[in-house]
């Protein structure tokens, strides 16, 4: 199964598409990507998780890291979460801090 990341850098936002299984073995790779993407100072950081089949708390911790790294002024979007991945996000209270959408529509 494994885990894959692809990054699309727009003018205002960076989109990070995740697929496969995001566990503690895969999380460092995502953290590295977030660090790289943060360097370009996007206004919005978009995680497309529509092809993500598993996410452990190690994945949640990368989202926390991203928010803390980018600062409160940068909005985090999580796009296409469904089923158990969505369940994990809401159970952990992440719907209070990230913008959950089916498809990406920038809010501002």
């Amino acid at each position: 199964m494994g885990f894959d990341i692809s990054v699309t850098q727009g003018s205002d936002e960076a989109t990070v598409k995740l697929s496969g299984e995001l566990d503690a073995a895969a999380a460092p790779k995502l953290k590295e990507t977030v660090e790289k993407v943060a360097g370009a100072k996007p206004k919005r950081l978009v995680f497309d998780v529509s092809a993500l089949e598993f996410m452990a708390s190690a994945g949640l911790r990368v989202l926390i890291f991203a928010k803390q790294k980018m600062g409160a002024g940068v909005s985090l979007y999580v796009i296409g979460s469904k089923g158990p991945v969505l369940n994990t996000l809401t159970m952990s209270g992440f719907h209070h801090s990230v913008i959950l959408q089916d498809t990406y529509k920038p809010l501002e």
């Binding site: 199964m1 503690a24 073995a25 598993f54 452990a56 708390s57 985090l76 992440f94």
Partner: protein, 141 residues
Amino acid sequence: METRSVPAVLESLAEIRRFVKDAAGRARIEDSRTYQLQLAVDEIATNIILYGYKDAGEGAVISIGAERTGDALVITLKDQSPPFDPRTMQMPEALDIAMPLEERKVGGLGIYLAFQGVDRFEYRHEEGSNLNIFEVRSGHD
């Protein structure tokens, strides 16, 4: 009881989840509950690998067992790292869960998800081994 031993490294997590999924399939556990069980076992196994076996050299192993009793499936993780009862770990409270991410503490989330995902969690220390025991019952969602 069916058992398997894997090296105590993060790269074994996928195999551990696969083992749980196969056992849950045979026990006719619903898909959503199977996922929660996989997540619970994955989180505790991650803690064992990253913290329990932190100072262990090569050759450290985790064994995983699956057993059916009635309509329940019991998964057991067994390891020989120092005694640690995950139930003693401080978990995020309702207040933390509602906190903005930028102010969050990052600890305890995995254990929190693990306990939420199963019908019963038990820990025992026996003959030098940690036993982390997860139980789910089929037939309700």
